[in-house]
């Protein structure tokens, strides 16, 4: 039996109905797949794609121009500078005291650590001795900030590669840490509490109790985060053997912090070139070693180092709380600070790596030259070498594992 097929599209004069797509024969598909596996067919043209500056996984306003061949990244060039405001130029036009609030805005997730470094550099220029109690308060605040920053980084890394739940869990504890700093400094993210020659506010006994409770809570929750991330099979599949930064490449590019230790370099400024009073505390420096999962230097290990460091930061903060001596919290300073001619190069261990200040004083109340070395600035440079040949989705995993903050890249 044969009859005329009923047209599905009613005939309209002057309009031709689109042709139905050709039906793919099963054997055609099999042949195409076979050819693809032999690398002969289905080659795609190279395509230049802008990733960012408003891509959620670029953590701010990083624009990465990637050349892709299908899903494979063949070349990559980060473009930075969208947040540039020349903190260094501002520093040259302001007295030392007035410049300090600006350093908070560089790495806005670790403002206390930024202030700590800047104050040490200025104190070294001017020869200021900081009271004991202030040194301990600085360490306590810096380590609470480090805990908050690291658990934030762990949570958003999960978010980057598709796990939303851990983000909500880590933010619960992080907010508690930020509340603590808020009670001391009066701000949620930008504090200006570490001052030249000391700190602005003292710690009350209630604050110390609350800080202990916070550290206990984070310590208790860390295994919970691990159940969701480090021990999670899907997380391991996304991060193990991905974005491997070999040791030589990491050192050559000037990668620092957790990313450097994840590449197997046993170096932590707090232990190996201690600043402040860090030489008084007992803590371990976690260094990636083979035997956890994946290979040394991959995304998994950067996350692993961050997790281990959180434990050690809690340990340092507890020791500092235990040993906190009574006394002054602010050295006596002149109203106009005029350090003598000279220079200082100070590096401190930030949650993201080594932050360094190079300051040149000319004897006036303003610095002649200030140069800041943002850890993220050096850490994202390595991406150009590592990401070649990676999948686009793995690029997101790599970028997230470096934990960059664009405020400090662009300064």
């Amino acid at each position: 039996m044969s009859h005329e097929p009923v047209p599905s599209v009613p005939h309209v004069p002057g309009v031709v109905a689109p042709k139905a797509p050709p039906v793919v024969d099963a054997s055609d598909l099999a042949r195409a797949l076979e050819e693809r596996s032999m690398g002969q067919a289905l080659r795609t043209e190279e395509l230049v794609v802008n990733m960012g500056p408003q891509h959620p996984s670029t953590h701010g306003v990083l624009r990465v121009v990637i050349k892709t061949d299908g899903e494979v990244v063949t070349a990559l060039q980060p473009h930075i500078g969208n947040l540039h405001r020349c903190v260094e130029k501002i520093g040259e036009s302001l007295p030392y005291y007035q410049w300090l609030p600006y350093v908070d805005r560089m790495d806005y997730l670790a403002a206390i650590n930024n202030e700590h470094g800047a104050c040490i550099a200025i104190e070294r220029l001017a020869g200021i001795v900081v009271p004991e109690r202030a040194e301990y308060i600085r360490v306590i605040l810096a380590e609470v900030q480090r805990v908050a920053s690291h658990i934030f980084a762990m949570g958003v890394y999960g978010l980057d590669i598709g796990a939303i739940t851990p983000f909500l869990h880590t933010f619960r504890e992080r907010e508690r840490g930020l509340d603590l700093l808020d009670h001391v400094a009066g701000g949620r993210l930008l504090y200006h509490v570490v001052r030249i020659g000391g700190v602005k506010r003292d710690l009350s006994p209630e604050w110390i109790d609350e800080c202990h409770a916070f550290l206990d809570a984070v310590e208790e929750r860390l295994p919970e985060y691990n159940t969701l991330l480090l021990d999670n099979h899907i997380f391991q599949e996304r991060t193990c053997n991905i974005g491997v930064i070999p040791r030589e490449l990491a050192v050559g590019w000037g990668v620092t912090g957790p990313a450097l230790r994840a590449s197997g370099v046993d170096w932590d400024t707090r232990r190996d070139a201690p600043y402040g009073i860090y030489d008084r505390f007992q803590f371990e420096v976690p260094v990636a070693h083979s035997g956890v999962a994946g290979v040394v230097g991959d995304c998994f290990h950067r996350h692993w180092v961050r997790f281990k460091e959180t434990e050690q930061a809690i340990r340092i903060a507890r020791q500092a709380l235990r040993d906190l001596p009574p006394g002054e919290i602010q050295a006596k300073l002149p109203k106009t600070l005029k350090p003598p001619k000279g220079e200082a190069y100070v590096r401190v261990e930030n949650p993201r790596g080594e932050l360094a200040y190079y300051m040149v004083a000319d004897g006036t109340d303003k610095a002649w030259r200030i140069r800041c070395r943002g850890p993220s600035f050096s850490n994202i440079g390595v991406m150009t070498d590592v990401a070649r040949g990676a999948l686009v989705a793995d690029l997101v995993a790599l970028m997230g594992s470096l934990d960059i903050v664009l405020g400090e890249v662009d300064r």
Binding site: G81, H84, G252, W253, A356, T364, W368, S378
Partner: protein, 204 residues
């Protein structure tokens, strides 16, 4: 601002006050004297600011020696910075720009012996290269330390130091059409940028 308190170029590192000799700087000076004659123009081995001033044309050779030497093993260029020292009066010449390299060694210092030693200075080796302000050309050390790439681009962008011998030298933080190099002491604020008025700090 530029005439306020400009120190003459050679005095960046303050007075060479007495003090213990810096072992790293002394070793580097010895090594360079043997391997690259004429590279070290001035060596300050004591005091608060030990550093070596290197001749610009010998910089890459000196950097290669410091990087490859098994004893010093300066495998990381921590920071490249530049300081502008304009002349106080026109009669003093064009003034100078000082490019400062902070080098550090992870290979040498990560052993347990270093951690046990009592002296825990930061262990930086500081190299200085002084070039005239009107022709600030310094050879690039990107071939020795790949990490110097972005730092050199930033110093070109903000300070106008021309690094030679590298593939390209583009601005990194500022837009390509930004006028001048803002960290120069004589840089003047532009009136506007693409219709956006710019108010210098004095006018705020």
């Amino acid at each position: 601002m530029s005439d306020a308190a400009a120190t003459p170029p050679p005095a960046t590192g303050a007075a060479p006050d007495a003090g213990p000799r810096d072992a790293v700087t002394a070793a580097a000076a010895r090594l360079l004297a043997a391997k690259v004659p004429g590279a070290v123009v001035e060596a300050v081995e004591t005091g608060r600011h030990p550093s070596l001033t290197i001749a610009a044309d010998k910089l890459v050779a000196a950097a290669r020696v410091l990087h490859d030497d098994p004893e010093l093993a300066m495998d990381c260029c921590h920071l490249v910075s530049a300081v502008d020292w304009p002349a106080k009066t026109p009669a003093d010449g064009p003034g100078a720009i000082e490019v400062v390299y902070h080098l550090v060694s992870y290979a040498r210092k990560q052993g347990a012996a270093y951690r046990r030693s009592a002296v825990k200075n930061d262990g930086f080796l500081v190299l200085r290269v002084r070039v005239p302000r009107d022709k600030p050309e310094v050879p690039s050390v990107m071939g020795v330390w790949v990490g110097a790439d972005w730092h050199e681009r930033e110093m070109w962008d903000l300070m106008g130091v021309k690094f030679t011998g590298r593939a390209s030298l583009r601005r990194i933080l500022l837009p390509e059409d930004w006028p001048g190099h803002p960290l120069r002491k004589d840089w003047a604020y532009p009136v506007e940028y693409h219709g956006i008025p710019i108010i210098p700090p004095e006018g705020r």
